[in-house]
């Protein structure tokens, strides 16, 4: 059954859509801040420094670098070879750090 969307929610959704269309980099920036804060909070609350913790933190790092590369460095418009080289570096660094931990 369809429910009417509250006016404030509809307004928020509309503003979010406008923000994404007009300045997606600002949304990416907010996402990067949230990922940074949440991973720091997770690392501080987690007493063990096992492989699983390292793998989780490095996955967040990989996601953050992907966002910076694609949206800030504008690699989403780059040729495939450059995108592959950049993401290959992310994968190698993830593998090295998790592998040695």
């Amino acid at each position: 059954m369809d429910r009417p969307v509250p006016a404030s929610l509809s307004h928020l959704s509309s503003r979010l859509r406008t923000a994404v269309r007009g300045q997606p980099v600002r949304l990416v920036f907010v996402g990067l801040l949230l990922l940074t804060a949440s991973s720091s909070w997770f690392a501080e609350s987690e007493s063990s420094r096992g492989v699983a913790t390292t793998a989780f933190l490095m996955t967040v790092v990989a996601l953050k670098i992907h966002l910076v590369g694609m949206h800030f460095m504008e690699l989403r418009y780059a040729p495939l070879a450059l995108k592959l080289a950049f993401h290959g570096w992310i994968a190698v660094v993830w593998g090295l750090i998790v592998g040695f931990s």
Binding site: V25, R26, F29, L32, L33, T36, A37, S39, S40, A43, E44, R49, T53, T54, L57, M58, V60, V61, K64, I65, V68, G69, H71, F72, M73, E74, L75, R76, Y77, A78, P79, L82, A85, F86, W89, V92, V93, L96, I97, G99, F100, S101
Partner: protein, 218 residues
């Protein structure tokens, strides 16, 4: 106001590159609406430098993790003395600087060189803030008697953060150049030059995104 780029435009209808003069104040392959043709941001040469620097740091990360695997207890004990708050604030400062640089590049594309200069100034201030945090952190450690010769962890800590800080300093010189170039009303920089310089600054941010958890969290 003039934005120059030496590359060709891309024709979606024919799927081929068409040599065409760039319109004044705009870059044909990157419109405000977000329709983009494939291109290397900046210059190919700067990406050789960026990927080369990233590979060099990749080797440093591997050497650090190998040393850590040799003495986990020492690394964990020494890591507890690091100030996570300063590291976290520095991460936020560098992310903000990257956002300002993106907005400056967008302003240059739109022909708004005055706005671009303001964003480059903000990014430069963020760089100064990062360096200030680093000086504060080093001072705090040295005051507590923790130096590069204290133990293996701190040797790596000072070397890795020191080399990164050197890259931040180079990046700040690049930002200062862009700020000056965009303020100069008689001779504006080429968009490819602005993109290349911006890519270098983002690389500095990318390297810190790995260094922060590597040294402070993991």
């Amino acid at each position: 106001m003039r934005v120059e780029r030496s590359t060709s435009a891309y024709s979606p209808s024919s799927g081929t590159r068409v040599e065409a003069p760039e319109p004044r104040g705009r870059v044909s392959h990157v419109s405000d609406e977000g329709s983009h043709a494939p291109h290397v941001p900046g210059e190919v040469g700067v990406w050789v430098l960026v990927l080369g620097e990233m590979s060099m740091f990749g080797v440093f990360f591997a050497i650090f993790m190998d040393a850590r695997a040799g003495d986990r207890e020492l690394f964990a004990r020494s890591q507890r003395h690091l100030n996570i708050t300063i590291g976290l604030v520095n991460t936020i400062i560098l992310l903000a600087s990257s956002l300002f640089v993106v907005q400056a590049v967008q302003a240059v594309r739109a022909g708004g060189f005055g706005r671009a200069s303001k964003f480059f100034t903000l990014a430069l201030l963020c760089g100064l803030g990062f360096m200030g945090g680093k000086v504060l952190e080093y001072g705090e450690k040295l005051h507590a008697g923790i130096s590069p010769v204290t133990d293996t962890f701190y040797m790596y800590y000072y070397v890795l953060t020191g080399i990164h800080a050197l890259h931040v300093a180079v990046g700040m010189c690049v930002l200062a150049f862009l700020r000056k170039a965009t303020r100069n009303s008689s001779r504006h920089p080429k968009i490819a030059t602005v993109e290349a310089c911006a890519s270098y600054w983002h690389m500095v941010d990318v390297l810190w995104i790995v260094l922060f958890p590597l040294l402070y969290l993991i």
